[in-house]
Subunit: 472 residues, 2 copies
């Protein structure tokens, strides 16, 4: 509960409509995954200056706050815990600026601009932000979690697209750190903006940014193929495509039989394109480029490459075309899986050669150790990211869930060199995994940085213990 | 001069051939640009562990050292000053590892591996590191300066290619910070490696890295065109090409008449392809991609796009093909200019829309204020980087050089929003510009980080004053 004094002070900073309490805060306290918390209040500044004023006030008063933009994250980093003591600092009113610079091929955005709104503004100029996600997050969260998505292989993550930032530092003065710039090349000292990308708001609240954006491709070809086997063929196929198509290869997504089945159950107008039986594993492939007047170039190239793949006995079946249906199928997997039972989600990332061996090992070992849990993996084979989802029938009960989480994380990290968070960042949901699996020296240095940037903020994410004399 | 005691101790760490003194150190004390300094000695460790041992020893003993890899930098950051008190810590013996992981499309390299050696090792696998430079630097320096080059437009800078790092921290214990990883997606806390990219070794010495590498394009087309004017047409042409060719546009380089003349004087087998008179300004364009069996696709696409540009009256002349000759011309500019007089070099970067207005303003203003200095600019119009070179005839004398430097830097930074170091980083040569043009808050934060990482190293680059209570 917010005291009357704090409420009055915050209202003076952001206006009546800037402070929400009671039932109006519930949506802000409920994450996209995991259980809801409770917010002391929601504070909604409408400008970068207001954000800094609120942050300064909170630091001086010792009020814990959680920055939140689109609240689409999956690790509980944008919602309050259940103490009822934390404020939500919502950035949703920072929908300005949204200014496209066509000559520089860049755009200036507020932290509260949604991905869909940005792409709507870019569309008339033939541009887009090439981060392909199921959700529709806001810029602040996309930058703070360094999100990536299904076309990473070609376009990379948010870090690659950020040219400049404005940050509300978590100090007593409510200092605004202006790192705004629209330059692509700029090596004039420490690139401070890197510290605020992917750190989930722990070092400061991103309020505004300049992003490098890309020309929209005008020609696209999509195929779904059945690899000859699930151990070697997919990676050999990836290599063939990368060398035959270079970076116009814009997606290379693996889909397991279980994930495929869930998608078909969800998207009922779609059929299995390979006949009656579902293949053990399929790969979704996309090429995209701008090819001038020639809008068949990508399909010709893809057909040519898949013929070579068939001749090399890397694939046993393929459908080319029907791109919209195939992507609908891909994007129906998550919802489809949720409808089939309880989902244990893992956002893992591997070296590319390690994904399929890990998958085979887990299918075998889980069947023995934890019978009933089904491997329903899918994800970005081309860049090493895997949504390693496990489906547990509701009838089985949750008694073993915690043991399964530990088992899979330990196997992935210790035996297969995985990252436990490929693109979701760190939040309450995986703080304990961070603490257990991050080497002590990295925690020390990250702790020193945390102390530098947010020692004064109660309740902020901690990347390490309070450092004692490291580096001296 | 190195004392006998220090010499014995360092020799015990790196062996007899690891310590050079006297005349053998001269090459290591002479930068590629600016005057030579003097080294107390050159220490050449042969492994990451030896680097850390040497660094720890230097910190404990208060010995100043300057890390150096290929010594091709242009801002004096890899060579000692003329005090004779600084050691050169040469990384040239770290030529291992050089291990290609074909499945992961990545490579593990030592800091002493040269760009040419890396590309030789990648060639048989159809891969390359797509950083296109005139020099042949080593990996340590390329990472520490975050170098980029002529194909930034398509492939970005070194930061984009670094997946993992090993760093010798500048502490008394000679701590090795192991950030090695071959993962593309990994958002598990603070991405510490970003701090060591582009900071010139001030935070620690990069000894090893894992790099993401790219498929070599198999189809390439090059053209040189004369834009209809030098104010608007080049950017309109860039837009047309980006929307018509997307990211297969791999170079868009502007070349002034003076730079063109110098290149022709240098590369005497080449002729002006546009007849007797040199155009006021030309643009070199390259498309490159992998296009399967079709090796004419890029030339068809480029021809198609340049026909549209001619119809839109953006260009008045063009030659397509002869890619090797056109690139030779481009790469002959620097040497050609050096032969014509004294060069004042500026490594500026702008928003793309600001380059040509800056250029026009400077040509007019320099003619009035500093007659005799000729603008011979060339560079990367597509990404905003400009080698803004000024030629001063030897006969004119150097009395006004310092004033010209100040005038151009101030105009570029204050009135045209430029970066004073697009890709060369910070070194002795531009420390004073850094001090003058970097906002106080950024210097404070950078100073706090410097204190954290290298307070114990005498002689290290300083990014800011000793911080006093910032952020608290």
């Amino acid at each position: 509960m917010l005291s009357a004094e704090h409420r009055a002070a915050l209202t003076a900073l952001v206006g009546e409509q800037g402070v929400l309490t009671g039932a109006a805060t519930e949506g802000y306290a409920t994450p996209a995954r995991y259980a809801a918390g409770r917010a002391a209040a929601v504070v909604r500044p409408a400008s970068s200056a207001e954000v800094s004023a609120v942050v300064g006030y909170c630091v001086r008063q010792g009020l814990a706050f959680v920055p939140q933009s689109g609240n689409t994250g999956l690790v509980g980093n944008a919602t309050p815990d259940d103490s009822g003591a934390q404020l939500v600092l919502s950035l949703e009113r920072l929908r300005a600026p949204l200014e496209v610079d066509v000559a520089n091929r860049s755009v200036r955005v507020g932290a509260g601009v949604r991905l869909s709104a940005l792409n709507d503004a870019l569309q008339p100029h033939g541009l887009f932000l090439p981060i392909d996600l199921g959700a529709d997050p806001m810029m602040g969260g996309m930058i703070s979690t360094n999100t990536a998505g299904a076309r990473f292989l070609r376009y990379g993550d948010m870090r690659r697209h950020v040219l400049g930032l404005k940050v509300a530092l978590a100090d007593r003065d409510g200092t605004e750190l202006d790192l705004m710039s629209a330059l692509r090349k700029n090596n004039t000292g420490v690139d401070l903006k890197q510290l605020f990308i992917g750190t989930g708001g722990a070092f400061g609240v991103v309020t505004e940014a300049v992003l490098d954006v890309q020309p929209r491709p005008t020609d696209r070809a999509v195929a779904m193929v059945v690899p000859a086997d699930v151990r070697e063929a997919p990676l050999a196929l990836l290599r063939l495509l990368e060398h035959g198509a270079g970076e116009v290869l814009s997606a290379f997504e693996g889909i397991s039989q279980n994930a495929f089945r869930a998608a078909l159950a969800q998207a009922q107008s779609l059929r299995n394109p390979f006949g009656a039986e579902l293949p053990e594993y399929v790969v979704l492939i996309e090429l995209s480029a701008s090819t001038g007047a020639d809008t068949q170039a990508m399909e010709r190239l893809l057909t040519d490459l898949l013929e070579r793949a068939a001749n090399d006995e890397l694939i046993v079946d393929a459908v080319i075309g029907r791109g919209e249906q195939l992507w609908t199928l891909r994007h129906s997997i998550s919802t489809g899986l949720k409808a089939m039972g309880h989902l244990l989600g893992f956002d893992l990332a591997f070296e590319r050669g390690a994904i399929l061996p890990f998958r085979s090992a887990m299918i075998a070992e889980l069947a023995t150790r934890f019978p009933g849990y089904q491997v329903c993996d899918f994800g970005h084979l081309g860049d090493g990211g895997v949504h390693f989802s496990l489906l547990r029938p509701h009838a089985l009960g949750d008694a073993q869930d915690a043991a399964v989480y530990d088992y899979v994380f330990d196997a992935a990290i210790q035996h297969h060199g995985a990252s436990f968070s490929g693109e979701h960042g760190i939040g309450r949901a995986n703080q304990s995994i961070y603490d257990r699996h991050t080497p002590a020296l990295r925690q020390s240095i990250a702790g020193a940085l945390t102390q530098l940037f947010s020692a004064a903020v109660p309740g902020a994410v901690r990347f390490g213990p309070k450092p004692e004399g490291i580096l001296t």
